[in-house]
Symmetry: C2
Subunit: 237 residues, 2 copies
DNA sequence: CGCTCATTTGAGGAACTTCAAGGTCAGTGG
DNA sequence: CCACTGACCTTGAAGTTCCTCAAATGAGCG
């Protein structure tokens, strides 16, 4: 809903030539198909990167992703609709290990870096023809798309619930997707979360405060949370 | 939101042995991969049906669809979440030519007949291994899932708009999906549409009345509409 | 016609948004 | 070290949209 500069005049600042080594903890594209070395070589041949993007920069407009798919190595990517009116909806967040870019042109979404992020770019046609030779790859792709479909459908369901329930479910889901660590370090801004949940930041803030007062979560400085009662969080109405 | 009998105690009344001839106008599963006769034979071997289901009956609970995918030949199928509280959200409508059942277990959705419908049942594993031998099949499956993903994402975007805009967009989209005929014969009930749009039937009714008064649509008896100003419908806020 | 069920209309209330102000935190420079 | 800044988050009060509840109207069918 905010009308910030970076949305109306987004700037792409990544340096295409700068190649980063992938940290051990970061998501690895080749690993998704298992340990077959020859297959991993073929997959590596299809990929370019990782390429780094800085927070709030546009990675691609959805018209551009016709021939490439992206794979998130580190950070968080958002796909969103920026309306002329200045308000915005975030359709999905992509975390390390997720593929971005299955949905082409029609929706004219903008793919942006919600945090600093590193991405691999993968030739779409090459990946599909690899899938047509190898059941394992075919299954990985089908699983990737149906998982994203499942998340989109859960997102739809979430939009029919109250503000407090949306916030609670979001935090709980994020905690699970990030690996159920002791602390939940929320990587994206409240504005991003609000735009994802279809709420204003004010309503989001009030909802989170309610959850805190109910003893379901506790706050630690700098966007860090403790989910004190995870089961309770999932039962909020 | 309604709490009707068929929701709390759904009855499956289809007769598994009753096989219908598919009308010429109905969607044809084998045709989706083109004219290759040998391929069509392999696909036919994977399918069972068409099986008929009557309006408001449960076709499958999402736990059941692990090994079968469905293909809509005639009628409309809905996938929905029925909550204990009695209220309901419809996640998606499937029209002739659509595949149903990509998303498995996790969401525990109920697949139901929104109108009388005829479905083909397709062995999931067989279809996937066929995709791993044939680029065309692989592409059809990938296209089917990404199209559904695109629709789900549009659905998310829709939930951030006003009631009147949701109704207008729904009618316009339905008209397009059904082939842009002169008349739009809305196949599903207002309750179904309301549950899809996250509105009450009252708000939906008021919204449609507003659209009529604005001259964007006109009503003809028995759920038939004329979209008098299709361009205007898409611009409603 | 008289039944039932679906849809429409109205009045009041709840939830969320809007607008406006105040607070917190990290980084910066005196 | 401390004040200053700007981005981000929180809180409060008023306004809007949609929901809830209740009743009226309309459509389909024996």
């Amino acid at each position: 809903m905010a009308n910030l500069d970076f949305r109306t005049t987004p700037v792409v600042e990544f340096d295409d030539t700068k190649i980063f080594g992938t940290a051990d903890t970061a998501a690895n594209f080749a690993k998704v198909v298992g340990d077959d070395a020859s297959l991993q070589r073929k997959l590596s041949a299809l990929q370019r990167g990782p390429v780094r993007f800085y927070q709030n920069n546009v990675i691609a407009l959805n018209e551009d992703v016709a021939d490439h798919l992206m794979f998130v190595v580190t950070g968080v990517v958002r796909s969103c609709k920026n309306r002329k009116s200045g308000n915005r909806s975030i359709v999905s967040f992509y975390l390390p290990g997720d593929f971005v870019g299955w949905v082409d042109a029609k929706l004219s979404l903008s793919i942006e870096a919600s945090t600093d992020t590193e991405l691999l770019f993968i030739k779409r046609t090459g990946l599909v023809s690899l899938a047509a030779q190898n059941v394992r790859v075919a299954n990985v792709l089908l699983t990737a798309t149906t998982n994203e479909l499942a998340r989109a459908q859960e997102h739809v369901l979430l939009m029919n619930k109250s503000a407090k329930c949306r916030a609670a479910t979001f935090l709980s889901d994020l905690w699970v997707r990030l690996g159920k660590a002791q602390y939940l370090d929320v990587p994206m801004s409240h504005q991003d979360i609000a735009d994802y949940l279809g709420l204003t930041i004010e309503t989001l803030s009030r909802s989170i405060t309610d959850l805190e007062r109910a003893g379901l979560i506790a706050r630690v400085p700098s966007r860090r949370l403790i989910l004190q009662n995870h089961f309770g969080l999932r039962r909020v109405n």
